[in-house]
């Protein structure tokens, strides 16, 4: 076991992927010499050369579009989108090409492309650098959508994503890049929890808290704080946003009878809606209260001096937890 930051764990995971398969490529803006603005690809160009670690022109549609071409040629490109808010120019290539080409080809084509997106707020950034666009990709069939929350998962999930034959949208919680965790860099990924499974991050009995990415830590902290009020909160780290691991989710909610979903993305038409609707449908008779959602507001992401109010924090999450006991 080694102690690594989440960012470093991703770096090690990518390094493993590059070592294990000569077809794996890294591409994006500033991923080479600079090692990415978050240093996730630090040193990779030096060690694997410019043919495998590609500093691209500044155009996200171009990045994804050429990655598709490289995948058609047998490569496994891992694209970095520098910040969440810059994935939008690539949406057409992702939604209409990357996600649909396997279907269009009747299975004759596989596109093992990973799109890494540092996501979410909380780092005091300027506009467009704190977005949470996941629901758009979960709504798009043909894509797998995952979010890692800690260093250990970062290390394994990025490797699993690279070896997955489907396109994977890989969300990285940017404000957790510097969080440290224990990682077994010697372990292979064969025995790891599969990419499409959720994980009970903390067991509890009274209420289920569903979360992913940057809010997993916040939810764990909320759960610990809730103990003081005598509440036992079960925290589930979803990990996979498409597909959802409904087994783990419904097992938890059947046990607790109450459920809160938290994400940074705006609540309105966000992924929490899907989770709430699904949980309600599948656990209708077990629910003591409606599934409540905590998330961003129906506003653009505010200037960073206001983000502490915008982002679901311990208090707002516990407020929702409390409200589920009001029914």
């Amino acid at each position: 076991m080694t102690t690594l930051t989440l960012s470093r764990a991703l770096n090690e995971g990518l390094r493993k992927a590059l070592e294990n398969d000569p077809k794996v490529l890294i591409m994006g803006e500033d991923v080479g010499k600079l090692g990415g603005v978050f240093r996730v690809t630090d040193g990779l160009m030096k060690d694997f050369g410019e043919n495998r670690v590609i500093d691209t022109p500044l155009a996200e549609s171009g990045i994804v579009g050429t990655a598709i071409g490289l995948a058609l040629r047998g490569y496994r490109p891992v694209c970095e989108i520098q910040f969440d808010g810059f994935v939008y120019p690539a949406v057409d290539q992702i939604v209409s090409q990357l996600a649909k080409m396997r279907y269009r080809s009747l299975g004759n084509v596989a596109l093992p492309v990973v799109i890494r997106i540092p996501c979410g707020g909380g780092i005091g950034a300027v506009e467009h650098h704190s977005e949470s666009p996941e629901v758009l990709f979960t709504h798009t069939a043909g894509l797998r959508v995952v979010a890692c929350a800690d260093a250990a998962d970062a290390f394994t999930m990025i490797q699993q994503s690279v070896s997955c034959d489907d396109p994977v949208i890989f969300f990285e919680p940017k404000r957790r890049y510097w969080d440290k965790g224990e990682v077994d860099t010697a372990a292979g990924v064969a025995d790891a929890l599969p990419l499409d499974r959720a994980r009970v991050a903390l067991e509890g009995a009274d209420v289920t808290l569903l979360c992913y990415g940057p809010l997993v830590r916040t939810c764990l902290e909320s759960a610990i704080a809730a103990r003081e009020d005598g509440r036992s909160v079960e925290v589930v780290d979803l990990r996979s946003l498409s597909p959802l691991d409904t087994e783990v989710i419904t097992a938890s909610v059947r046990k607790t009878g109450r459920c809160v979903v938290a994400h940074e993305a705006p609540v309105y038409a966000g992924l929490g809606a899907e989770i709430a609707a699904r949980v309600t449908e599948q656990c209708f008779y077990c629910l003591e209260a409606p599934v409540l959602r905590v998330g961003g507001f129906h506003t653009p992401y505010p200037p960073s001096r206001l983000e502490e109010h915008y982002l679901p924090d311990l208090d707002r999450i516990l407020d929702a937890v409390d409200r589920t006991f009001g029914y």
């Binding site: 090409q97 649909k100 080809s105 009747l106 499409d196 597909p243 959802l244």
Partner: protein, 392 residues
Amino acid sequence: MTVESGGATTAALQDHASQAPGTPGTPGEAGGLVQLLTPEGERTDHPGYPLDLPAADIRGLYRDMLLVRRIDTEAISLQRQGELGIWASLLGQEAAQIGSARALAAHDMVFPTYREHGVAWCRGIDPAKLLELYRGVSHGGWAPEEHKFGLYTIVIGSQTLHATGYAMGIQRDGAVGGDGAEAAIVYFGDGATSQGDVNESFVWASVFNAPVVFFCQNNQWAISEPLERQSRIPLYQRARGFGFPGLRVDGNDVLACYAVTKKAMQAAREGQGPTFIEAFTYRMGAHTTTDDPTRYRLASELEMWKLKDPIERVRAYLVRTGQAGPEFFAEVDAEADQLGSRVREACRTMSDPPPLAIFDNVYTEPDAIVAAEREQFAAYLDSFVDGEGEGR
């Protein structure tokens, strides 16, 4: 039923175009139109593109063009009869497509739009596959690598980036320069040149010196919009703004299209990077079978272009030079008739996929959402008793 396609007939053509040195496209850059066969069927020379094709090959090109035109005619009438949902006609663009496609090596990779039926033919795609798409039986469904022919792409311009990425893969495979070198070619229209993606692909191809040829069929129209809505200068000049050569070729001249493509592909394979070819041609039909061009263009324009018909000029040339006689033409016509009825038959006997095929090939590995929805839908279908018409 399977209809044969033209794939097998190409080999003979591979090695005749001469490989004149120099930057591809220089003549075009100078403003000229590369032409080797006039509308009247007279052979002209072009210093940049010496070409000496044997008669058999020219007859082959004629045959290809005639056959794909027949497929097209047949498809249009099938659409009228309700057998196809829609059809995008290649009428008038046979020379651009056959000339360029026959100039490719077997291992070159092609990225088409939705109108490249002539190119598909040359890559050995069963015409029935194209009908499947336009009938709504599939979204294409062939295996790109098997035919070295990508899937039809409907979102304008997207495939230019795929081609460029593919070409970067060729580079990484060390397949540029030397024996067995490869290149990619991507087809797109005049309208497509306005799309961001297409211009991004120019940036990429240029910066990475990728072995890709941009083959733009300027058929003068993007549905109802004339070229002036996309550019105020000739399209081939776009390339120079990105630092690679562009040229204009007579897109109704199959020999010229063959020669310029041959040279540009060779340059790409040798590591000289991308070339932009503007094939100056004309969409003689409607945009698709649902379009009504009389709303936006004059009949006289079409009349003018009919005089430049890509097939007629080859026929005239073959006749004039004695390289083909009535027998040959009768033979090809007969072949076309046969092909036509086989295409028609293939379409008529095509069966729809079963309802549960909706759920196939979304992912490579099983997906929980798809699996659950599939299961629920299967149960729903089963709930109908026979005769209610919903059975799988």
